[in-house]
């Protein structure tokens, strides 16, 4: 959001119908996306809560994309890439490997539970592993409940500020 832009209150989630988690999965083109494809052609069943975003390499998944996904309303984020040693670009996933532990530490400082952020290696042949992973992630995100970040920030005045109830002033 650019500064000064007026912000509309985000729609309430989970009121009109039963809440379903929304999970964003960043998959690398060479292994994990093909792995997800593999799960599809093998007709493996997994929950439809996951929105897959294909990227060329897990090393190009800027932590900014992960934070932005949460900030715009995702309940969970998955990052999958080739196993170490299998990277199509030789060392792209080495960078992922070094970044992701830090990302999950920073996310926890922001109060985002470790269950919501999963980083796993999935090869092109591991359709089974991918389907299992999606099932597991969906289940653990369901357990921690909705994150609802846009509404939370709106209620605290980001982007408009007025009608805020000052905190404090209690007996």
């Amino acid at each position: 959001m650019s500064q000064g832009e007026s912000v509309q209150p985000p729609a309430e989630t989970g009121t009109s119908q039963a809440w379903e988690p929304r999970i964003i999965a960043f998959l690398c083109y060479w292994c994990s996306y093909t792995g997800a494809d593999n799960a599809g052609t093998a007709r493996l069943k997994y929950p439809a809560n996951v929105d897959i975003i294909r990227v060329m390499c897990s090393g190009r998944i800027d932590p900014d994309l992960i934070m932005t996904a949460f900030a715009r309303g995702a309940d969970g984020v998955m990052v999958c890439g080739c196993h170490i040693g299998d990277c199509h670009y030789i060392a792209g996933n080495h960078k992922t490997m070094a970044r992701m532990p830090l990302v999950s530490r920073v996310l926890q400082d922001f109060g985002i539970e470790p269950e919501r952020f999963v980083h796993e290696w999935v090869s092109a042949a591991e359709g089974d592993k991918f389907a299992k992973l999606v099932r597991q992630v969906t289940e653990q995100v369901c357990q921690v409940g909705p994150l609802d970040w846009p509404r939370r920030m709106y209620e605290r005045g980001v982007g408009h500020g007025q009608d805020l109830q000052p905190w404090g002033d209690r007996a």
Binding site: I66, M97, D109
Partner: protein, 330 residues
């Protein structure tokens, strides 16, 4: 600073300048004095019509000004309380050009680090659990107070620190904690000469469009980091990139314009000029940069190395938490 020769919107006669502080330390007000003897040149062409830190003006004085009376208002500090918000809205109405001056107004600054704690935790620390406190009555601030002369309305703390741009439209932003004197003088000269960039809330002035690394004279040897160190743990080798030596230097993710003052003085860049990239999230840029320079071939080893960084969130977002994608702790 790029200019397209746009004239600043002003009334005839002397330029009317205002400056206000909200949730800030006062360093920004002092940084205006850092222009030194140029202050006398400024006073020749400009009248100061509001500056609570340096001169005796009441809020009522500003409220009595007609709308658009102040030509340029430099607003420093983030929005932490209802008083800050009231003044931000008032000064927006009374000013033709409103500038977010300094890291706090632009990105939340150091006060925004409190966004990692809940208001309850902040109150507990400040009024109850701090070991140097003596508060047996468990007194906390209130926004209403009955006095013999009537009910008093006092400012209340907001749930989190907001940027000036979260509350009102901002015309320009000057980064820095505080902005460097030479840059401030350059901006003021441009204002007086009528050579400002086109009005746009996203425009940053008083800085360059590169990163601190571009200005830093230290040598890069293209080595990878085996272990992280804190500044008190070792004496840095002169003229060698501090990050490559294992000190967490934020130069790579920070906008230039300060002249790389800190790295030149053997101190890591603390990141006060805000994000260097297109994204306003400075912390993730640093996270990303670190991933490329850590020397590890196994996942466990990578985790070991990054675990040596004490408080990564507070370090990477030291001055820009309110501008990050997530903005505050849940």
């Amino acid at each position: 600073m790029t200019t397209n020769g746009a004239e600043i919107d002003r009334q005839p006669g002397k330029l009317r300048v205002g400056m206000h502080w909200a949730s800030s330390c006062g360093g920004c007000d002092i940084s205006l004095l850092e222009i030194g003897e140029h202050l006398l040149e400024l006073i020749e062409v400009a009248d100061i019509v509001f500056w609570p830190c340096a001169a005796d003006f009441k809020y009522r004085t500003v409220a009595d000004y007609p709308d658009g009376y102040i030509d340029v208002c430099l607003f420093n500090g983030g929005i932490r309380s209802s008083e800050h918000e009231r003044l931000a809205r008032l000064l927006r109405r009374k000013s033709r050009t409103l500038v977010a001056y300094g890291a706090c107004a632009m990105d939340g600054g150091i006060p925004a680090l409190a966004n990692l704690k809940s208001p309850r935790e902040i109150y507990d620390a400040v009024y109850h659990s701090n070991p140097t406190l003596h508060n047996p009555g468990h007194v906390e601030p209130k926004t209403q107070w009955a006095t013999p002369l009537g009910e008093l309305d006092l400012p209340g703390m907001y749930p989190q620190v907001l940027r000036l741009g979260d509350i009102v439209d901002v015309d320009y932003q000057i980064p820095g904690c505080p902005p460097v004197g030479a840059q401030v003088w350059k901006v003021l000269q441009a204002v007086v000469a009528g050579e400002v960039p086109a009005r746009n809330s996203a425009v940053r002035v008083g800085c360059d469009n590169r990163s601190v690394c571009d200005e830093c004279p230290r040598e890069k040897r293209k080595t990878r980091i085996k272990a992280f160190k804190r500044p008190h743990m070792a004496v840095p080798e002169p003229n060698w990139c501090l990050l490559e030596q294992g000190f967490v230097c934020l130069g790579a993710s920070t906008r230039s314009g300060c002249g790389a003052q800190c790295p030149k003085a053997e101190m890591t860049c603390r990141g006060c000029y805000g994000s260097a990239g297109l994204s306003s999230d400075q912390g993730t840029a640093m996270l990303s940069a670190l991933g490329s320079v850590i020397d590890a071939v196994t996942e466990d080893r990578a985790r070991e190395v990054v675990d040596e960084i004490v408080d990564p969130t507070g370090t990477f977002y030291r001055f820009s938490l309110a501008s990050s994608a997530l903005k505050a702790r849940r």
